[in-house]
Every structure is written in C-alpha cells, then in structure tokens.
C-alpha cells in the first residue's frame, strides 16, 4: 500500500469516527460535564471542597460499599447461572427454543414498578414466599438484579457460543479429554471475551440499578445511583450529587478496566462459523445442564411472571379478561390521557427511532474498535475509547436528564420539549449494548483475512462488507433486539423527557399504578403483560433477521 493510500484510509476512519463522537459529545459528554461542573463551581471559581466534605460522611462509604457489594453479587450470580443457560438455549436444539430464548428476555424490559408488584407480592408477609422473610433484604435485591440481567449473559455469551467452531473441542475429546476438561481448556478460553463483555454490562446495570433497589431493597439499602437521584431531584444539592457522580464514574471505570484487561488477555482470533450454527439435539450428558437451567428459569423468571399474569387476570368481578378489554379505554376515572393501545403504538414508534440511532452509532463504533492498527499509540487509543463508549451505562439517567435541561436549552439546540430527546436518551443506553454484542464477534475475525482483502484491493468499506458483515450475521439481529428491548422498557429518562400527551407504555403503566380507582391496578398489570409480549415478539423477529451469508466457513 502506498503512503497516499494509507492516508486515505486514515481519513476514512476519521470520517467514520466523527458521527458517533459528535453524537455522544452533544447528547452525553456535554450535558453530563455541565451538570457535574455546576457542583464543583462556586462563585465562578473551582471548588473541590465538596469532595472532602462528602467523602468524610460515614453514610457515603456505606452507600458505596453497598453499591459495589450488590453489583458484584448480582454479576457473579448472573454469570454463574447464565452460562449453563447460554449453552442450553444456544447450543442445544429442542422444540420451543425460540420461545424459551424470548422468555428469558422478558424481565429485561419490564418496568421496575411492575417488577416491584410482581416480585414483592410474592415476598411480602403473607405472599407465596413470605415465609422466607426475604422482603427488603440484600438477597431480594440481588435476586431481582439477576432476574433482570440473566438475559444479558445468556444472549451475549450464547450468540458467541453458537458461532464457535466445535472441532477443537471435538478434537480434545477424541484425544481423551473429559467433557469438563475439554470445556475448561478449549471452550471456556474461547468464550472468555464474551463472558467478560456480558459481565461488564451486567455489572454496570447492577451498579446503576435504581428502581429495583428502591422497590425491593426497602429502606436500609441505598446505592450511589438512588442517592444521586435524591440529592439532585429532591434536595437540589448539586455539590453532593457531583461528588457521587464522580465516584460512580470511578467505580464504573474501574470495572471496565478490569473487564478490558481480562478481555485483552483472551481476545484472539477464533474460528467462527458464519451462517450455519452448530447445535445438536439434547444428549444424555446434557441433561444435568438442562435440568439446572429449567430450575433457574422456572424459579427465577417464570414464577414472578406467572404471578404477574395471574394478577392481571383478576378483576373486581372475579377472574377474566376485563383488564385487557379495558386497555382500549383511558382507565377508571380517566387516569390516562390516551388509551393504553395508543401508548403502545407510541412506544413502538419511539423504539424504531431509538433502534436506528443506536444501531448506526453502535455499528460505527464497533467497527472502529475492532480494527487492530499496528502502531501501539493507535492501539492504546482504541483501548481507551472502548472504555469511554461504555460510560453512558455508568451515568445515572437523572444526571443526563438534568444535564439536558441546562445545555440543550437555547436555539439552535433547544430540544428540551422535543420528543426527539426520548429516542436519543434511550439510544444512549442501547449503544453500549450494541457495541458489546458486536465487538467480541468482530474481534474474533482473523485480521489476516482483512489484510488479504485489502491487499487484493478492497477499500475499508469493502473489507467490512465482505469479511466482517457475514460473520456478524445473527449478532446484528441480536443487537437490534436489544435496542428494541431497551427502548420499550426504558423508564428513568423517558419519564421526564416524554410529553404527557404522548406517553410510552412504561409511563402509562406507572401512571395507572399511581392512580386510585377500581381496576387501574389490574389495567396496569395487563398493560405490563402486553409490554412483555410486545417485546418478546419484536425480539423473536429481530433474532431471525440476519445478513445473508453464503455460508462461508471462515
């Protein structure tokens, strides 16, 4: 390649980088930096005394301790329980597999108010599991975190596992390794990047969990996230909130660095097979894993969901579909401004926008981060960017939302009243998911293939189309599904960005639960079931989307 050509390539990369960087700069970095900055500026001068003040409080340390503890426990459990699940749902073939995959994703999109009702009604004194005395305990919080995040592990790891070339493991087995040893020494190392990816996502979700902790943790438990919310929205104590936001960023950056380190040690070109995935019928040796996963999914996911469905069928007149027929109304005493169906349509439309925004930005970023330039400096830059792009998950919705208030407030960017902010805010949460879904697969592509294509005269765009895209295959569908799920279920930012005359489904559900009147609670639960089914359906469709590949064995 001559010098001119490589300069052109560099210009191409720079252009590719501009779109995502501009997007994240305008809608994330600027608002967040502005609101945090307010906490550290007093009378026009930088004032960092807030730090020593807040960090001297014993309460602050207790909150940090609990945040880290619940996130660590939630992540560890989600990974331990999720790995067998990934195997069963992505490596085995059995009737109803698609439905099962969709089922485990349902909790991921349920609004926390609903999970509160579904989970807590089982745990409270007098509930089905009331005798456990788990209501308001650490265990209840962790169980709910795992309930939410199980799907993240299953899907992220599963999609990698499905593409893994089975031959190395078969070879190991043929050479006499036990199944466990073959798994540990051949398959597990190959899966490590995906596991690290999933674990860092889950850790971020757990560390920044808001509603789950408030509803299920009861009073004794506060996390950095809930404390930022209280300090910002209720006390307007921006100094304390700013310190806590920096602490949160620190925790998040630390966990990301750890994940990046473990990935870097493992992320090697793998033998992936595009298109056809290697799965097999359930064998006898799979039965323990199948049984284990059935118990986990049954206990952790099906039980609360069943309780939700049952309660949605209970009306003041007895059992029936009354709550569902009511969805065409605006609720008892007109609790809503629009019917629930109308809100569902709004949710879908917003989800379409959030998805295309997140996919555009996410795919561009994943593409950039998957390159392996030869210069060490460029490699380091990519490493740092990799972490930076995850930060939107580590910053609370309230910080972003209040940041929007004080930055996007003057023409030409007075967007505060615009409904456009809703899909944008949702896309911010979905982008890291898109990156983490696509990146392990892209990075597993043998760089020599790209080099070969380049030598044969393909420009970077062509290399991407001919080499990367076919391998991405189903992962793209998976990412689209994640985007939809995030958008349909997002409540934190949506609740104060959406317009009252055009609420989304979770906003409507929240409002119904908050309004007295016979039947409103039942309607809220029925609407939640609809939300769950909607998401499940969209995800099932997205999963089947795949870029057609000629079945090339890479």
């Amino acid at each position: 390649m001559d010098r001119n050509g490589s300069r052109l390539t560099a210009a191409g990369y720079a252009l590719t980088a501009i779109v995502p960087l501009a997007f994240l700069g305008l809608f994330f970095a600027w608002p967040v930096a502005s609101i945090i900055g307010r906490g550290f500026v007093a009378d026009g001068a930088l004032d960092l005394t807030a730090f020593s003040e807040v960090m001297a409080r014993e309460r602050t340390w207790r909150i940090i301790g609990f945040t880290v503890a619940q996130a660590t426990a939630g992540t560890a459990l989600a990974v331990l329980l999720g790995l067998p699940g990934a195997y069963v749902l992505y490596r085995l073939r059995f009737p109803g597999r698609t439905a099962a995959r969709a089922l485990v994703t349902v909790p991921f999109v349920l609004p926390t108010v609903v999970v509160g009702v579904a989970f807590r009604s089982l745990l409270v004194e007098g509930g089905a599991f009331g005798s456990l005395g788990a209501d308001g305990t650490f265990g209840a919080v962790v169980a709910a975190l795992v309930f939410f995040n199980y799907a993240v592990v299953v899907r992220t790891v599963g999609s990698m596992w499905a593409h893994l070339d089975p031959r190395p493991e078969q070879t190991a087995r043929a050479l006499g390794a036990s199944p466990w040893r073959a798994f540990r020494e051949v398959t597990l190392p190959a899966l490590t990047p995906a596991i690290a990816s999933a674990a860092s996502l889950v850790f971020l979700f757990c560390a920044t969990a808001f509603g789950t902790v408030l509803v299920l943790g009861g009073l004794g438990y506060r996390t950095v996230e809930t404390e930022i919310w209280v300090q910002t929205t209720q006390f307007l104590d921006l100094r304390t909130a700013a310190v806590l936001s920096v602490v949160q960023l620190g925790v998040v950056a630390g966990s990301l660095a750890l994940a990046a380190w473990s990935r870097r040690r493992r992320e090697v070109a793998l033998r992936l097979r595009a298109g056809a995935t290697d799965d097999h019928l359930v064998r006898r040796c799979d039965l323990p894993l199948v049984a284990f996963t059935t118990v986990v999914v049954g206990g952790l996911i099906v039980t609360p969901l069943t309780s939700l469905v049952l309660r949605s069928l209970r009306t003041p007149e007895g059992w029936g579909l009354g709550n569902y027929t009511n969805l065409a109304t605006t609720g008892s005493r007109d609790a809503l401004e629009v019917t629930v169906w109308r809100a569902a349509l709004t949710s879908l439309r917003i989800a379409v926008d959030a998805t295309w925004i997140a996919m555009t930005v996410g795919v561009l970023i994943a593409f950039l981060l998957s390159r392996r330039p030869r210069q060490p400096a460029a490699r380091r830059t990519i490493g740092v960017l990799d972490g930076l792009f995850m930060l939107p998950l580590g910053v609370s919705a309230v910080t972003v939302g209040f940041g929007f208030l004080i930055t996007l407030n003057r023409p030409p960017v007075d967007l505060r009243s615009s409904i456009v902010l809703v899909p944008i805010a949702q896309a911010l949460v979905a982008i890291p998911l898109v990156i983490r879904t696509l990146l392990p697969v892209l990075r597993a592509v043998d760089q020599r293939l790209r080099d070969a294509a380049a030598v044969l005269g393909a420009n970077p765009r062509w290399v991407f189309t001919a080499v990367d895209l076919p391998v991405l295959g189903r992962s793209l569908g998976l990412a689209v599904g994640f985007c939809f799920a995030v958008s349909l279920g997002e409540f934190g930012a949506t609740s104060f960005l959406s317009r009252p005359d055009r609420p989304t489904l979770p906003v409507v559900i929240f409002r119904l639960i908050g309004h007295p009147g016979t039947g409103n609670l039942g309607m809220a639960l029925a609407a939640s079931v609809v939300l769950a089914m909607l998401t499940t359906g969209v995800i099932a469709v997205a999963e089947r989307l795949r870029v057609h590949s000629a079945g090339a064995d890479l």
């Binding site: 108010v113 509160g116 009702v117 807590r120 409270v124 004194e125 007098g126 308001g136 408030l214 509803v215 009861g218 009073l219 004794g220 809930t226 919310w229 209280v230 910002t232 929205t233 209720q234 006390f235 307007l236 104590d237 003041p316 007149e317 005493r333 007109d334 401004e337 349509l345 709004t346 879908l348 439309r349 989800a351 379409v352 926008d353 295309w356 209040f402 208030l405 004080i406 407030n409 505060r416 009243s417 409904i419 456009v420 899909p423 609740s495 317009r499 009252p500 005359d501 929240f510 409002r511 639960i513 908050g514 309004h515 007295p516 016979t518 609670l521 969209v538 469709v541 089947r544 989307l545």
Partner: protein
C-alpha cells in the same frame, strides 16, 4: 417453501409491518399555529384535566396548551430553578407547600393576582405577593383497613400515639420522605405534632415495626391489606380522599377510612414563570384553573380538593372523604430551611 425460507419471509414481513405501522416519530411536529399562540404549562406527572374542558379553554382563548411533565413536585421545582435562565415554559402548576419557599426565593415566579383568587378556602394562600396561586389541597393521613380490625377484634387506632402502641406492632406502612411526597408530608405532620421530640416518636414507631416503602403505590398496593392488593398491613399512609375508591362494586360503604387526627395539609399552587414567552397566556391559564368547571373537575381527575370555596364535591366525597378539621401544618419557610436536615435526621433515626 423450506422452513428456513419461510422463516426468512416471516421475518421480512414482520420488519416491513413494523416500519410501516410504527415508522419514525421524528417527522412528527405539532402544527400549533393558533393566532393566540402556544402556552406551555410545566407540571408534575399527576396533573390531569378533562379533555373537553381543556378543548373549550383552547377554543375560547385561541391558545394551544402544551403540557410538559417533570417528575414529582420536588423534581419539578428543582428543574425550574436549574433552568431559570431559559425557562421551560410559561406557567407552572403543582408546586406544593413543601417546595413553595424554594420556588419563590429562587425567583422563578412573576406575581399575578388572578381575579378568581378572591374566594379561596381559608388558610391556603402562600403569602401576599401573589407569586403562587392556590389551586387545590388535600390531606395526607394514615388510612385504616376497617375490615381487618373488625376481623381481628382489635380497636382501630385514632391518634399518633396509638400507632406506637404494642397493640399495633408491625401493622403500619408509610413511605420514605426522601423519595415520596406523602412521605415528606407525614414527616412534617409529626414535626408539627411533637416539636423537638419528633425523632423520639419515630424511634418509637421504628421499635414498633413500622415498614417504610419507597412510593405510595408500593405501600398502598403491595403492603396495605385494604386496597386491591393483598398485603398484610392494615394501616397505610395515604390521602383523606382515598377511602371512596375502595368501595367495592355494588357495595355502599368503603372498607377503609382516614385517621383524621394524623393529617398534614398539602396545598398545590400555580404561577407565572419569570421570563415566560407568553405571560398573558400563562395568566389566562391560571384564571382557567380557578374557574368553576376546572375546580369541579379537580376531585375527579387529581383526587384532591378544589381551592375555591363552595365548589361542589362529588357525592361519594361528601360522604366518605371528609377533611381533617385541624390538620397539621408547618410554615413553608421552615420547611424550606429544614427539609434536608429533617430528612437526614429521619433517615438517621429510622434507617441507620
């Protein structure tokens, strides 16, 4: 068709349908070019008004009303304070007495004396500068599941002190004052009732097994035994106006009642925002909120009492939702000065 082929077709059809029905939201703009212009009302998530009323108002004034919800009352005021230099709208509704002082002292409001504000229920006015116009009020009180107490043959509690008695151990659920507005209101009621000793009272409640939930809906629907949920606690923090909504279909008396000696009075105000683009529109909106049709609509839509005296109430409210004769109150200035401190003390007493 091969199964794979069929699946792909199904997926394609699904995608096309999604994009066709759902499309994008981004092109949607609202064509609001009425001659009177647009007036933007910033409010909390509980704001509601009958559609016909609002339509009549828009027609008679040539205004288009755009509402913007900003979380709960606290979040609403704090967002307005933060965005003071570039106001979020023209008028605000939903500032309550817990946050009123902050709103006034931050200078986010313009004075406006609405002609409708001359005949209000006594004791609701904030001050004499007309920056805040009372629109409605309500009492936050402990609600009792009367059936539960009848079934267990325990007399119903009547006073604050009763709630701390061993007979009522593990029966009460309240909400967190840091995250819920009725929670804060009831904390204020105890401050008024016990003065400096209010933390001692909460220590007694704590020792008597009070449960603290994070939000009203969580407490009322999950922990409380008297609503649609099947919780186990027969005493819950709610509103004086809650009981009528627990009347079973076909029943004629609510199975719950409010303990009227445990109430804190919440007042909600409206005002014209400083720097409003359409201050005249904002003033018209406030006049509208004090008009009889709007005032009569309030109980039905927002479950609170109209601020204009002699406004007729729904019949079931007349029967089952009496207000407290002498509710507890704390001056807005004191609330503003000590809110955070009280919440901290409360947390230290009940949680830590």
């Amino acid at each position: 068709m091969s199964p794979i082929h069929r699946r792909r077709v199904a997926a394609a059809v699904g995608v096309v349908m999604l994009t066709a029905t759902a499309c994008s939201m981004l092109e949607d703009t609202d064509g609001s070019d009425d001659p009177g212009g647009t007036v933007v009302l910033v409010t909390h998530d509980s704001f509601a008004v009958s559609k016909e009323l609002l339509a009549e108002f828009e027609e008679s004034t040539d205004l288009t009303v755009e509402t913007r919800a900003s979380g709960d009352a606290g979040s609403l005021v704090n967002q307005l304070v933060l965005s003071k230099d570039a106001p979020l709208g023209d008028a605000v509704y939903g500032i309550d007495n817990a946050f009123a002082s902050r709103a006034v002292s931050a200078g986010i409001l313009e004075p406006y004396a609405s002609p409708g504000a001359t005949d209000l229920v006594a004791g609701l006015a904030f001050d004499d500068t007309s920056r805040l116009t009372p629109v409605d009020y309500g009492d936050v009180c402990i609600n009792v599941d009367r059936e539960w107490f009848a079934d267990h043959a325990i007399p119903e509690p009547q006073t604050f002190d009763d709630l701390a008695e061993p007979a009522y151990e593990n029966l009460l659920v309240v909400t967190d004052p840091a995250t819920s507005s009725p929670g804060l209101a009831w904390l204020l009621a105890t401050v008024d009732a016990y003065d400096e000793d209010w933390t001692d009272y909460w220590a007694r409640l704590r020792d008597n097994g009070v449960r603290v939930s994070d939000s009203w809906s969580d407490a009322y629907f999950t922990d409380f035994s008297g609503a649609e949920g099947d919780g186990s606690r027969p005493l819950v923090l709610s509103y004086a106006s809650s009981p009528p909504y627990t009347v079973a279909r076909g029943g004629d008396e609510p199975p719950t009642r409010a303990m009227l000696d445990t109430c804190f009075r919440q007042v909600e105000y409206a005002g014209v925002l400083a720097g409003a683009e359409n201050p005249e529109g904002a003033q018209q909106l406030i006049d509208f909120m004090l008009s009889q049709p709007f005032q009569r609509d309030i109980p039905q839509k927002m479950y609170v009492y109209p601020a204009v005296s002699e406004t007729p109430l729904p019949p079931e409210w007349e029967r089952f939702a009496p207000l407290a004769d002498d509710p507890y109150q704390v001056s807005p200035a004191a609330i503003d000065a000590y809110r955070e401190e009280w919440i901290r003390q409360w947390t230290a007493t009940v949680v830590d």
